[in-house]
């Protein structure tokens, strides 16, 4: 619950000084290519390239990076299992119909489909994690403003951004205090303590938010947070790297479009 936010890592990563648009282009482009891909090879290639980039260029600790994949990996494996069992096909290895409306089977088509979805998830997740680890939210606010996201949304986003950290702080402190007083001894107590925790934190950060608005009003806040972000220039080397990455990935996605895991050429 109290895991470290990727935000903290993103603020100090090795690619912090690279232009935000370039990083977004690389990440979003990779997601886009993964979705367009029709075979498992493209997403797998993207995942490998991005992982190497994150570990070597952004200098993210391998344990942290691996840890981020545990959750998506578990979910992906479980859900792919469901897809493999229900999607059916012609070349059947095994099948079982517990109910008339439900038939579970293992076919070469369903394994192909399942493995493909699994790789697409891994590719997509590595692209998402790439953006999350290299681009702090504060940089994204600058991009959002430049892209003319409506002011109210941006304001609200920043307010939520701030309150997340405020709530987290209070939550951790109160939670530890409750644990020390054996507040989570039984299920009933847990519910009671957890509600007290949520209620007090909610009201606490609400008044903190009101104080913030009052303080800002006193400083001529007119419903528009000033975002001070320097735009870093697009440098040649990073630009070429991103272009090369997207180019090569597109070629891989295109060339590998008809290559299934089982029954090649079918």
């Amino acid at each position: 619950m109290y895991e470290e936010f990727l935000e903290d890592i993103a603020q100090t990563n090795g690619l912090r000084e690279v232009n935000t648009y370039l990083k977004l282009l690389a990440g979003l482009g990779a997601i886009f290519l993964c979705l367009l891909s029709q075979s498992y090879i493209g997403p797998l290639f993207i995942a490998i390239v991005l992982s190497v980039t994150i570990l070597s260029l952004a200098k993210i600790d391998a344990r942290t990076y691996g840890g981020l994949f545990i959750l998506p990996f578990t979910f992906a494996i479980m859900s792919v299992a469901v897809i493999i069992l229900i999607s059916g096909g012609e070349e059947t290895f095994w099948s079982w119909s517990p109910f008339p409306w439900l038939s579970l089977s293992l076919t070469s088509e369903s394994i192909n489909e399942g493995f493909f979805v699994f790789c697409r998830v891994i590719g997509g997740m590595s692209a998402l994690i790439f953006i999350a680890l290299t681009t702090p939210m504060t940089d994204l606010f600058v991009v959002m403003r430049q892209c003319r996201v409506p002011e109210v949304v941006l304001d609200l986003a920043m307010m939520i951004y701030r309150s997340i950290f405020m709530i987290m702080d209070q939550l951790v402190q109160t939670y530890h205090a409750q644990v020390m007083r054996l507040g989570y001894g039984s299920f009933r107590e847990s519910i009671q303590s957890f509600s007290t925790l949520c209620g007090s934190v909610f009201i606490g950060s609400w008044s903190a938010g009101e104080d913030l608005i009052r303080a800002m009003d006193a400083r001529c806040y007119d419903g528009k947070f000033a975002v001070l972000g320097e735009t870093r220039p697009i440098e040649v080397l990073p630009f070429i790297t991103v272009a090369l990455f997207l180019g090569v990935s597109s070629v891989v996605v295109f060339l590998a479009r008809d290559l299934p895991l089982l029954g090649a050429g079918s």
């Binding site: 999350a132 209620g199 419903g223």
Partner: protein, 229 residues
């Protein structure tokens, strides 16, 4: 989860989500013009949804089970603004915790930010002026908003990965996904309802003024709940 839905479905859910967001932004503008003090409450509600929905539990389907926490926001601000808050929260989740994803954001907004809140709001409007206990109403709204979110998620998954037509197609995989979600989600929805109802109780006791100003419940009800005659 990023990459889980085929791109056609990502596009479909985005197309459904966008008009709701636009309308939500319009309403948000109106509220902030008349009542600036609502901004901190909006922010805290968003932060709250973020924290609650970060408590992920493994579930055997493509996405995962977690409380949604949208109920409170629905009661305070209605379903459309809730969808904007949800969109922001879901975006933060993908960037802060690598939960969810950008391509599936549209689908997530539809399930967590549109259908769930709409269901909750319908119940809230139906029960608001009746004799039913205020906290019971909050409980039902929050639990239903949560359950309908998973109802929609199951539908999204089933539409993208239907079983073959001869064994029931979309319907059969929908039932399967629903069944798997239900194991974790039904107890979770009940717990979430209880927790948010208790949170609401604290708000009524400590800061009832904004509830009165936003006309969330009739004044007599809130007074009665505070023990004022």
């Amino acid at each position: 989860m990023e990459g889980f839905l085929p791109w056609q479905w990502c596009v479909v859910w985005w197309i459904i989500a966008l008009p709701c967001l636009v309308f939500g932004i319009y309403q948000l503008k109106k509220i902030l013009e008349t009542d600036r003090d609502a901004l901190p409450l909006l922010g805290v509600t968003g932060g709250f949804i973020f924290i609650l929905s970060s408590l992920k539990l493994p579930s055997v389907t493509g996405s995962c089970s977690h409380p949604t926490g949208t109920g409170l926001s629905v009661i305070c601000f209605g379903p459309w603004i809730t969808s904007v808050i949800c969109a922001i929260v879901l975006l933060f989740q993908s960037f802060f915790l690598a939960h969810g994803g950008l391509s599936v954001l549209g689908a997530n907004i539809v399930s967590m930010g549109v259908v769930g809140p709409l269901a909750g709001y319908a119940v809230y409007r139906a029960l608001r002026n009746t004799q039913i206990n205020m906290y019971l109403t909050v409980f039902i709204v929050c639990a239903l908003a949560d359950l309908f979110t998973y109802f929609t998620t199951s539908l999204e998954l089933a539409l993208a990965y239907p079983a073959p037509a001869e064994v029931g197609g979309v319907m059969s995989s929908f039932v399967l996904f629903m069944g798997i979600f239900a194991i974790t989600q039904v107890p979770l929805a009940i717990v979430e309802g209880i927790v948010l109802a208790l949170v609401f109780k604290y708000i009524v006791q400590l800061k009832p003024d904004i509830l009165l100003r936003l006309k969330i419940f009739p004044e007599e009800k809130i007074r009665a709940a505070r023990g004022e005659a």
